[in-house]
């Protein structure tokens, strides 16, 4: 192969608060790259993955971006945070060379006016709330709508879908009986739990957390004898919850656009992913959702680049964005269980999964839900 390599760039949070996911995202991107190269690259172009650690800090992400794009031609790039994606947007727009996606499912990024060259590799957070609420609406007993409480972290990430979530709930006739804001991570939440004890919501939806304090809410509320159902969005629905909480995690539900690594389903791409993961690190065993996410990002990039090349167009951001928008009923080879279409630069699809603690895995409890 002597065709010019195509560079996948990335600002990857290998350290800092998001490192727990960053290392797996990195692995997903690395493995995808070696897989696609083993398939002959993209239209014969080999793929090179160039990344830097950012510590999940915006200025370091920007530095990484400038450095990587400064010494390579980078058509697609992985951004590690909403903050970074927003910060880099103006530069991205004026350069017009690079299409970007990443760890963020922020609702704001679906705004095509402001962020024409950034897309979301799944549903945005508001759409996740939508999927969750649609599921909740089906769970009413005796014709009554269940009640719900939102628990979210005091961060940009945490607050992202709350307004639209409330609006959507109101529209659907679901009462939001309590809203709780906490710091992310290790905090004492006894007081908040006492509040929830008063309102006894049927469902609690977590957003903006990874693990703590979800466990604390669940354990304490169950100790109090409440039979609340707990749910969470993408980054709160990792295997981590099962691994760390053990039996306490049983019954927790999450919304997830991709199949879990160990899900019962299959498909050519999902099998390829498993084989590649097995090959790169045989001891790793299960691969977390960050890995799936990294892989899926790279898959979309490949698809977009391929479509653009096949159309005989240059790899500019505008052309690639067009190719992206053209994706309709795309078969992801089992990564996502149904064919997907791009809407407003996102893939508004997902499924509700439920923890089976005995089996130590998530099991689907709903069909794939594609929002329109």
């Amino acid at each position: 192969q002597d065709k010019e390599p195509i560079v996948f760039g990335g600002s990857i949070p290998l350290s800092g608060v998001f490192a727990f996911a960053g290392v797996h995202i990195h692995a997903g991107l690395t493995d995808y790259t070696s897989w696609i190269n083993s398939q002959g690259g993209i239209n014969g172009h080999p793929v090179k993955y160039v990344m830097e650690d950012t510590g999940y800090e915006v200025d370091r992400s920007v530095a990484a971006f400038k450095k990587i794009t400064g010494s390579n031609k980078v058509p697609v790039y992985y951004g590690d945070s909403t903050g970074f994606m927003k910060t880099i947007a103006s530069e991205l727009n004026s350069r017009g060379t690079t299409l970007m996606s990443g760890a963020s499912f922020a609702t704001a990024l679906t705004d095509n006016e402001q962020y024409p060259y950034q897309f979301i590799p799944g549903p945005n957070y508001s759409q996740m709330f939508g999927i969750i609420l649609e599921y909740i609406a089906t769970q009413g007993k005796d014709g009554e709508m269940p009640t719900v409480a939102f628990v979210y972290s005091d961060t940009e990430f945490g607050k992202d879908p709350i307004e639209s979530g409330k609006a959507k709930a109101a529209e659907m006739g679901i009462e939001v009986v309590e809203e709780i804001v906490t710091k992310p991570g290790s905090v004492d939440v006894s007081a908040e739990i006492l509040k929830l004890r008063r309102v006894r919501p049927d469902f609690v939806v977590f957003h903006g957390y990874v693990l703590s304090p979800i466990n604390e809410f669940m354990v304490q509320m169950r100790q109090m004898g409440l039979d609340t159902q707990f749910m969470g969005t993408f980054w709160s629905s990792d295997k981590l919850i099962i691994n760390k909480m053990g039996a306490d995690a049983d019954g927790y539900m999450g919304v997830m656009p991709y199949n879990y690594y160990d899900s019962a389903e299959g498909g050519p791409m999902l099998d390829a992913l498993r084989a590649e993961a097995e090959k790169s690190d045989p001891d790793a065993g299960y691969r977390p959702t960050g890995y799936m996410q990294g892989w899926f990002n790279a898959m979309v990039w490949t698809e977009v680049i391929k479509r653009t090349m096949d159309a005989g167009k240059e790899l500019t951001a505008e052309n690639m964005a067009e190719s992206l928008a053209s994706i309709k009923d795309w078969d992801t080879g089992g990564i996502i269980g149904i064919p997907v279409s791009v809407q407003d630069m996102s893939f508004p699809v997902g499924r509700i999964w439920r923890v089976n603690a005995k089996e130590a895995r998530y099991e689907p409890v709903s069909d794939w839900i594609h929002l329109d």
């Binding site: 991570g185 290790s186 004492d188 006492l194 693990l211 100790q223 909480m245």
Partner: protein, 292 residues
């Protein structure tokens, strides 16, 4: 107003405050002897909690063996830090030393990530899970028992400082190192012991706090709340740390419950600002002697 709710919230807050008091105590002991504001205290707590995780989780020891071992580990860490990084700073300006502790915090975070990885963790549950009711008021069991263990150590410390020469040696050393030497006080040992015992209190608190709230390399951020505690109480006052610890724990929780989680920090910092204006050395801190 729902008084039962208020009572429950207050109780939860007070219990958390007890742990703050314990950390504050660790902080104050170090400050009293060495005039070092230890910004790494949160990270020392974290380190001890990770040790506990290894002993009780990975190595499957009984938590009641793992707890003292982890606390011992944290204390040794404190002693080592003092010996290798704080002692050479003798005589430098207080802000330089503060900066050193900030550097130490960064080193510890890195070490923890290196050894235990970046994933958030939960400690194996070792405190009883049966809900505790005081009258009609519910109190989370972890917090209740955590508070009891912490209070036991607090009492031991208080008795020691009340009834031994140790307290005097500590303050003498803080006031003038050279003069303390010339009294026959082993200043290096006082420093070392202050760090060891300060870290001991912090380590115990670290395991207890992590047991309720979980653990991650960012755990050390709790140090910020403790900073408020010791400033409100007075940097060099043990009583101050106790009173302010309990008070700030209560205030944080009540503010969080009634105003919302985003008000926790501003509420405590507002109290801090008010106190500083009226009592520049905290509630119980000693005034610097200002003479010309």
């Amino acid at each position: 107003m729902d008084w039962l709710f208020f009572g429950e919230i207050s109780l939860a807050g007070l219990a958390m405050g007890g742990l703050y008091a314990l950390i504050g105590l660790g902080f104050v002991i170090i400050y009293k002897a060495t005039r070092v504001i230890n910004f790494a205290i949160g990270e020392i707590m974290m380190f001890a909690a990770y040790l506990f995780l290894t002993f009780a989780g990975g190595m499957e020891m009984s938590p009641w063996v793992a707890l003292p071992l982890a606390v011992l580990g944290g204390s040794i860490l404190g002693g080592v830090i003092e010996k290798t990084m704080i002692r050479p700073m003798l005589g430098e300006s207080s802000i330089s030393v503060v900066m050193v502790t900030i550097g130490i915090a960064s080193i510890l975070v890195g070490l923890v990530e290196l050894i235990w990885g970046a994933d958030p963790q939960l400690l194996p549950g070792f405190l009883p899970r049966k809900p505790v009711f005081i009258g009609e008021m519910y109190l989370a069991p972890k917090i209740a028992y955590g508070f009891l263990i912490g209070a036991a150590l607090l009492i031991v410390y208080l008795l020691y400082f009340r009834f031994s020469r140790g307290g005097v040696a500590l303050r003498a050393t803080a006031s003038d190192q050279a003069a303390a030497y010339s009294m026959g006080i082993n200043v290096r040992r006082v420093f070392n012991m202050a760090w060891v015992f300060g870290s001991l209190a912090a380590s115990l608190a670290g395991v207890l706090v992590a047991a309720t709230g979980g653990l991650s390399p960012q755990f050390g951020a709790i140090g910020l709340s403790v900073l408020v505690v010791v400033i409100v109480g007075g940097l060099d006052s043990i009583v101050g740390a106790l009173v302010a610890g309990v008070f700030i724990g209560w205030l944080e929780t009540v503010a969080g419950a009634y105003l919302g989680g985003e008000y926790r920090m501003p509420a405590t910092f507002a109290v801090l600002a008010v106190i500083l204006v009226f009592r520049p050395y905290g509630l119980f801190g000693t005034h610097e002697i200002e003479r010309v």
